[in-house]
């Protein structure tokens, strides 16, 4: 009975979402603010009702009610409580409900937070968000109902997919949805700006933190996916250029471009239409990603079960949103003449333009790579696959270009720059990067791509260090304190810029991790019998023993490896091959030994049941931890950005740029 109550709550939420659509329209037409208040109540109501729906479903999991089809499919009485709850988003239906719930949460928070400060935006915001919520609730209730019962009720559930029984995989979908859905807030503000014709910087400023938060969630979600793939899938990589990974990566790329180009709109009041385009594109790509993943249109490891009915509905919905948003953009922007005015070919503004160009090309690369097989199929031409080799050759150079721009953009002045200034700013970083790269060459890094990548990293790093040095010296002198305290003052004077640079630093760390863990990865796959030894680089692995092991809901085999480095024993590693008895699924459990910020990584994907031999996959992944460290730095810096306190010192900044000609004026210039 209680399950039906949850179902009823979601149905009511659907009805309220219709109120959320109609009330603001009436309010705008009649000019009666009461209607907007009604809409606000509806938004809060939707959130409460969806929360009830979610809570009841979770209750169903905990109460082990397997008469609910979805719970039956994604849970089992033997599961730990943690994974019982996580079962909620372990499949298509429940994860959609989570999507809708997060959307309702965002919408409510945005309504409450901006109610006073952005009254004019409210009806549009609620309208747009309600349309999206409405679409998703329709999909949930009519085509993917998680509250559906089965009769007769099975005694026990089919179990959550063992691959998903992992902490990283539990947080991965919610984070990803926080990111996808989070983009709907700046999107709604942009639509409000379009509808109301207030196309200034206001909407950009109001949503900056929302965008950073959505971006951070997306980054973390993608990162968690990679982390999970690395530890759980056992092939030693974190990114496979799988269509579903790409589906999450595309909105990320556009959101990143958007975060950058909005700065131009804030500071120089340019690129208005372009920013609207970017955020609409970013959110559209979130929706398109949802379509790609859930319609089964692309073959991928992650796909949900395909159902053309669902696919058609989602496609219809996505098409509606695309037409609504891009259509409005086209109609409105046709009335907007380009307002771009620049003083110099080389300036911060123009570098932002190139940044955007590179991001867009990166997007096109991923987009085309993902959809090309589909295109070939539809055209009934030869069926093709596009995979890592394509992205490595086409995407990577573009990505490296973006990293390079990280060393240029933040240091070049707004408006105008002179050749001497350029020389002062960039000749030294280029030379120092050359020297450092040469040093790496001497130390044994000989692959040209790795060296090119390192040169770019060193270039950006030197630019960052130089700039930090300059501004902390400036503030130390000004406030008569030490260099370190000067740095703190510099940070406080413009936390937004500084956190941005910190994020760049995190990217650099990650890039180094990616360069080494991909290009200098050593890997072997072979069959080993107990007693066999294998060498990989200067490590030696000896398979000491193979034996059976058992867990709560699985049984399997374990291998014991003695690991030697240069003849010295350094570790024992115990990879496992498990077989989950309920779901009848085998998994490989990776054994990882951390070594100088890299990993030794062993899996046994296949074992003879009598323990006479095992198929062994051994990897050395140097500096792979830097990938996660980089992600960590980016996370912390983004949080610092979201929770920063801006100081307003306009007068001061003007003085700065006048008094100290050596300092690039923008470097010390506060946000506003």
């Amino acid at each position: 009975m209680i399950i039906e109550f949850g179902h009823f709550a979601v149905v009511t939420a659907l009805i309220l979402s219709v109120v959320g659509i109609t009330a603001p329209i009436i309010g705008l037409k009649t000019g009666n603010a009461t209607w907007v208040l009604v809409a606000r109540r509806a938004v809060i109501g939707i959130f409460i009702l969806l929360t009830i729906g979610m809570a009841i479903l979770i209750y169903g999991y905990l109460a082990q009610d397997y008469s609910v089809k979805y719970i039956y499919a994604t849970s089992n009485s033997k599961l730990p409580i943690f994974y019982k709850i996580a079962g909620l988003w372990g499949g298509h239906e429940g994860s959609l409900l989570l999507w809708a719930w997060i959307l309702a949460l965002y919408c409510m928070l945005a309504t409450l937070i901006h109610w006073k400060s952005q009254p004019a935006v409210m009806p549009y915001l609620i309208l747009i968000e309600s349309i999206v919520i409405n679409g998703f609730l329709l999909l949930i209730l009519f085509l993917s109902n998680p509250f559906e019962r089965i009769f007769p009720a099975p005694l026990d559930g089919k179990d959550l997919n063992p691959l998903l029984q992992d902490p990283a995989m539990v947080v991965h979908p919610p984070l990803l949805y926080l990111g996808y859905v989070g983009l709907s807030i700046p999107f709604s503000f942009a639509m409000a700006a379009l509808f109301s014709g207030r196309l200034g910087e206001e909407w950009v400023k109001a949503t900056q933190r929302w965008t950073v938060f959505a971006w951070l969630s997306l980054t973390l979600g993608i990162g968690m996916g990679g982390y999970w793939a690395y530890y759980e899938l056992g092939w030693g990589g974190y990114w496979g250029w799988d269509p579903v990974e790409n589906a999450a990566f595309m909105p990320w790329l556009v959101a990143t471009a958007f975060l950058h180009s909005t700065m131009v709109q804030e500071k120089r009041k340019m690129f208005k239409v372009w920013n609207l385009f970017l955020i609409i594109l970013a959110f559209s790509l979130s929706l398109i990603g949802t379509f790609l993943v859930r319609s089964g249109i692309l073959s991928s490891v992650h796909s949900f079960a395909a159902d053309p009915g669902r696919g058609v509905f989602i496609l219809a919905f996505v098409t509606f949103m695309l037409l609504l948003s891009f259509g409005t953009l086209i109609l409105r922007s046709a009335k907007l003449k380009s307002q771009v005015r620049m003083e110099s070919m080389v300036s911060r503004e123009s570098v932002f333009l190139y940044n955007n160009l590179f991001f867009l090309v990166a997007l096109v690369t991923v987009f085309v790579g993902t959809l090309y097989p589909l295109l070939m199929e539809v055209l009934e031409l030869q069926k093709v696959s596009v995979g890592a080799p394509y992205y490595n050759t086409v995407f990577m150079p573009v990505a490296l270009g973006l990293v390079f721009l990280m060393g240029v953009g933040p240091y070049i002045p707004w408006r105008k720059t002179t050749p001497e200034n350029m020389k002062k700013l960039f000749v030294f970083p280029m030379l120092s990067a050359l020297i450092l790269t040469a040093l790496c060459f001497i130390l044994g890094v000989h692959k040209p791509y790795a060296l090119a990548g390192l040169w770019v990293v060193f270039f950006v790093l030197t630019a960052i260090v130089l700039d930090f040095n300059k501004i902390s010296a400036f503030w130390a002198k000004r406030e008569k304190v030490s260099r370190a305290q000067g740095f703190v003052s510099a940070y406080q004077s413009n936390p937004r810029r500084m956190t941005g640079i910190f994020i760049h630093f995190g990217v650099l760390v990650m890039v180094v991790g990616i360069i080494f863990s991909s290009m200098y990865q050593a890997e072997k796959i072979l069959l080993m019998k107990p007693g066999d030894e294998v060498n990989i680089k200067n490590f030696k692995f000896r398979l000491a023993n193979l034996y059976g092991v058992e867990g709560v809901n699985w049984k399997g085999q374990e291998a014991m490896f003695d690991v030697y480095e240069d003849g010295e024993i350094i570790a024992q590693m115990h990879p496992q091959k498990r077989f989950y008895t309920v779901s009848q699924t085998p998994t490989t459990e990776t054994a990882i030994y951390e070594l100088r910020m890299g990993h030794l990584f062993v899996t046994i994907p296949e074992v003879a049941p009598d323990g006479t031999w095992a198929r062994v996959r051994i990897l050395h992944n140097p500096l792979v931890l830097w990938v996660w460290y980089g992600g960590g730095i980016m996370t912390v810096a983004s949080l610092m950005n979201i929770f920063r306190r801006d100081r307003r010192k306009r007068a001061l900044a003007v003085n700065v740029s006048k008094t100290v000609p050596g300092v690039s004026p923008n470097a010390a210039q506060p946000t506003r």
Binding site: S333, A334, L374, E377
Partner: protein
């Protein structure tokens, strides 16, 4: 329309194209694969017989219509088509220019034998030891069936089980006409 630029047109066309692509794509099956090696010379098969271990060579059967059926004991759909395979063999067993072989795929000999015991058997089977044969024939999964003509050319590839219409089509439109074609030696 004033201010309507070429970029807007690009954008609209792009969106439209994308939606059409997605719509078309919905009706396709991303796992369906076009057959590749039809109308090409069949690769040589050298494999041990499942029971006797005697070496089977496809080239020794040049001049006959050869049916190669890839199957495994763990494959559910193989069980569905098995009685139709038996019927094919029964129908043509008196023809000297016809031969059918089962290719046991990713399987264990004792499981394969138990399977044949349970479901009946009236034709010979060979073992695909290291997947060499199945990869040579571009096999994705089982069951897959190939019909090779008297000149040693692959003329038909059936992905999935031979049942009902597929069965009668295979007999009437593939095997019968091929048997009526002149052989190599004539």
């Amino acid at each position: 329309m004033k201010g309507f630029s070429i970029w807007h047109a690009f954008l609209l066309i792009g969106l439209l194209g994308l939606v059409m692509l997605f719509y078309q794509g919905l009706w396709g099956d991303p796992t369906a694969l076009p057959p590749v090696i039809i109308e090409e010379a069949a690769a040589e098969v050298v494999a041990p017989d499942l029971y006797s271990g005697d070496e089977f060579r496809l080239s020794e059967h040049l001049g006959k219509v050869v049916v190669l059926n890839f199957w495994a004991s763990w494959c559910l759909e193989c069980k569905l088509e098995h009685k139709f395979l038996l019927a094919i063999q029964k129908r043509y067993e008196n023809r000297p220019d016809f031969v059918m072989y089962g290719v046991n795929y990713q399987d264990k000999p004792h499981l394969a034998k138990a399977y044949l015991e349970e479901y009946g058997n009236n034709f010979a089977h060979v073992v695909d030891m290291k997947g060499k044969i199945s990869i040579d024939y571009g096999v994705y999964g089982v069951p897959e069936t190939f019909v090779i003509d008297k000149k040693g050319i692959i003329r038909h590839k059936q992905i999935g089980p031979i049942l009902g219409d597929v069965y009668s089509n295979l007999l009437e439109n593939v095997i019968d006409p091929l048997l009526n074609e002149p052989g190599l030696t004539s």
